[in-house]
């Protein structure tokens, strides 16, 4: 009797109130990741840097149309050269100063001015505008490369982990081989091949990056394969199999949420390294070639011209800063994402 009345009281109470374990508000998983990402000031900084560069490179040339990428400033330039000759006539010294005036067609190596915000380079191209076009190349090229690498990596890793056995063995051995290929020298060879085949200077960098993807996918493939193998080991997968569910479907259903965070982190970090790759190739005059602009190409000139290295910082330093901003931005974002997506994060 006693117990019965008590139970009724419980019902009453429950109707009026939210049950205890439901009254607790939690953070949604998405919001948790977003929050963790934005808590780090460095990720925000990285995001600003990358977005800034995107706007600068893609919207910039539309807004600032004063000069084009390969438009020479033909306003001319007068160069004065002074020659001094010393004569001794009747024991007295005379100095003869001869000034030669030379008028050149292109206004090259102009200092920064209202006309040329960052001046012109040794050919007479506007540096500021070339920075924008160079940014386009770098960003597009690295996005394409990272996308292709991830795609190829996911496919190969997927096949490998999925079918196992001989196929897995073959793909993994190919990975071993590709990982042992020396990266930069191989690209140098490929670049030389492209030189020989006389492909349009504008497109060779894209071809080069496609070659790059062919030797860079093993990292992603190993990641995906490892994830599939560990999923296979999971007890619920065995249970699913025992109950007659198709394993492939299960694997793909669980694979995506498991491997996505790591893939995203890897992609944002490799975006940074792709930009560095592209810049290095262009610096070695193997990537984007003159007259087209790339950040690396714009620095290339100082490897042969010490006058520019020392006295015309406006020609090469801005391009270097752009590269650093881009790479640093992607690295900050990647790092922030890694912390945000890490389930073991302590704070």
């Amino acid at each position: 009797m006693e117990e019965l009345t008590n139970k009724e009281t419980v019902e009453e109470v429950k109707d009026t109130e939210v049950p205890l374990d439901k009254s607790v508000k939690l953070m949604s998983p998405t919001r948790m990741v977003v929050r963790r990402f934005f808590r780090s000031k460095l990720s925000i900084l990285g995001l600003i840097m990358v977005i800034g560069l995107f706007v600068f490179s893609f919207a910039g040339p539309l807004v600032y149309t004063r000069w084009g990428e390969i438009e020479l400033d033909e306003s001319g330039k007068t160069e004065y050269s002074v020659t001094e000759t010393t004569y001794t006539v009747n024991g007295e010294e005379y100095t003869l100063r001869q000034t030669t005036e030379k008028t050149l067609k292109d206004n090259f190596l102009a200092p920064p001015s209202a006309e040329h915000i960052l001046g012109t380079d040794n050919e007479g191209y506007d540096i500021f505008v070339r920075l924008m076009y160079g940014g386009r190349i770098s960003l597009i090229v690295s996005f394409i490369a990272v996308f292709l690498i991830t795609l190829l990596g996911v496919i190969m890793g997927g096949i490998s982990g999925f079918f196992g056995g001989a196929i897995d063995n073959i793909i993994m051995r190919i990975c071993d081989i590709l990982i042992c290929l020396p990266g930069v020298p191989i690209l140098l060879i490929i670049s030389t091949i492209l030189d020989a085949s006389e492909i349009d200077a504008k497109y060779r960098i894209y071809l080069l990056m496609i070659y790059l993807t062919f030797i860079s996918w093993p990292g992603t493939a190993r990641l995906v394969r490892g994830q599939i193998l560990s999923l296979r080991e999971q007890e619920y997968m065995v249970a699913a199999e025992a109950m007659g569910y198709s394993t492939p479907r299960k694997i793909f259903k669980h694979l995506v949420p498991n491997v996505m965070p790591q893939l995203i982190v890897q992609m944002s970090l490799s975006l940074g390294s792709m930009i560095l790759y592209e810049a290095t190739l262009s610096y070695l005059n193997l990537g984007v070639k003159a007259p087209y602009a790339a950040w690396g190409t714009m620095i290339n000139i100082i490897s042969t011209n010490q006058d520019i290295l020392q006295n015309h910082l406006n020609v090469w330093v801005p391009a270097g800063i752009c590269i650093v901003i881009a790479v640093l931005g992607f690295n900050f974002i990647g790092d922030g994402l890694r912390d945000a997506l890490d389930p073991k994060a302590r704070r």
């Binding site: 139970k7 009281t9 109470v13 109130e17």
Partner: protein, 383 residues
């Protein structure tokens, strides 16, 4: 973002983060401060006790809100006694022990308030009472290891994989006695290994942890705890990770040791069987609070809190006539933003209207028996 009533809004999250950062900063500063000993010297309430935990609040400042893992826990550990702390997983028993050892993972885990009074015996024989909760972390070596030792739940991962057992045992001797020679330390370590019943102490001394079985490792952990002659050993689920036969051996060992070291044991476990076998006193915890405490006889023969009764019913016994195991319905509530009424209310079959009121006070039913439940309120009206 999904619109879900149970999810926090961005504004709420920011408010939590701001508040947490403020409190955490204050507590961290307190933890790392330099302080004179007089600041944390105190007196025991009862000189028969070795440890008195008084209204301990240990909080975790997470981004979801403050988790009050230990929310006003008070109990005593008398000298030469074994106190069992029982409760479901997540009830705050381990956090209580971590608070006593000051091993909480900062900056999120912090002792928020309360006192942990410990009666320490210096080498000179002089007795001093420290308030562990107020000790700055730099002075904690005065009690950690040499006055209170701890045995952990996971023997498999609790030993450093790159050092031999010998190296790890000798270390304890050196902390205690920095002037000891290598030979002396080894002698003592071997002695300790013998004490915990390891058959070939010389060989174990030179092995790496991964070469030993789980039971052996736990013995090593126990010998490590003993090597410093502690006054109190905290054993946090010492047998959970081991299989049943080994469990019995380890428990026997612990029981023998208590008489050998002439100290006290705080035994944390979810297994009431172990408590019945080992403990003199029992503390039952639920959702960060003590709901009932008393001698082992009182708790097992006269349990009063509905939760304690439920716990005992859910224990499997051989001579029971029912085929199904009793289980307490529902789950332990999430310890964020706990409302001020009995936390067990929703799982309780004997709930009354009063239970929606404020959290029940501790009621003394005998000199040693306390319970926190409205069923036993003085002047309980019978309607």
């Amino acid at each position: 973002m999904a619109k879900n009533k149970n999810y926090l809004s961005g504004k709420e999250i920011r408010a939590i983060a701001k508040e947490n950062a403020k409190v955490m900063k204050r507590l961290e500063a307190e933890k790392y401060r330099k302080a004179d000993e007089s600041e944390y010297l105190t007196e025991m309430r009862d000189s028969k006790n070795i440890l008195e935990i008084d209204k301990l609040h240990t909080y975790f400042f997470t981004e979801q809100g403050v988790v009050k893992a230990v929310n006003g826990v008070s109990f005593d550990i008398p000298k030469n006694a074994t106190v069992g702390v029982a409760g479901e997983s997540g009830c705050g028993k381990s956090v209580t022990s971590m608070s006593v050892m000051r091993l909480l993972q900062g900056p999120t885990g912090q002792i928020y308030s309360g006192e942990i009074r410990f009666n320490a015996k210096e080498k000179s024989g002089e007795e001093k009472v420290y308030d562990i909760a107020k000790m700055p972390i730099r002075d904690i070596h005065k009690i950690r290891g040499n006055q209170i030792a701890m045995i952990f739940q996971e023997p498999m991962t609790s030993l450093n994989p790159v050092f031999t057992i010998g190296q790890q045992l000798d270390e304890v001797t050196f902390i205690h006695n920095p002037d000891a020679s290598k030979e002396q330390a080894k002698e003592k370590s071997i002695e300790m290994l013998n004490l915990v019943g390891i058959a070939m102490p010389e060989r174990v001394y030179n092995s790496f942890p991964h070469e030993l079985s789980g039971g052996m490792r736990q013995r090593v952990m126990i010998s490590m705890a003993l090597a410093s002659d502690p006054r109190l050993i905290i054993a946090d689920e010492p047998t959970t990770a081991l299989d049943v036969t080994i469990q019995a051996q380890i428990l026997d060992l612990l029981r023998d040791l208590k008489t050998k070291i002439d100290g006290s044991i705080m035994l944390i476990t979810h297994d009431l069987g172990i408590i019945a076998e080992m403990a003199d006193y029992v503390v039952v915890m639920y959702a960060g609070r003590v709901i009932e405490k008393g001698t082992v006889d009182e708790i097992f023969h006269n349990p009063m809190h509905p939760y304690t009764i439920g716990l005992q019913k859910s224990k499997p016994t051989l001579n029971s006539d029912s085929d199904t195991l009793f289980n307490i319905p529902g789950n332990v509530p999430n310890p964020i933003n706990m409302p001020d009424y009995c936390y067990f209310k929703e799982r309780c079959a004997q709930c009354t209207k009063k239970c929606s009121g404020e959290y029940p006070e501790m009621i003394q039913v005998s000199p040693t028996h306390f319970v926190a439940c409205h069923l036993y309120d003085e002047g309980q009206n019978d309607d």
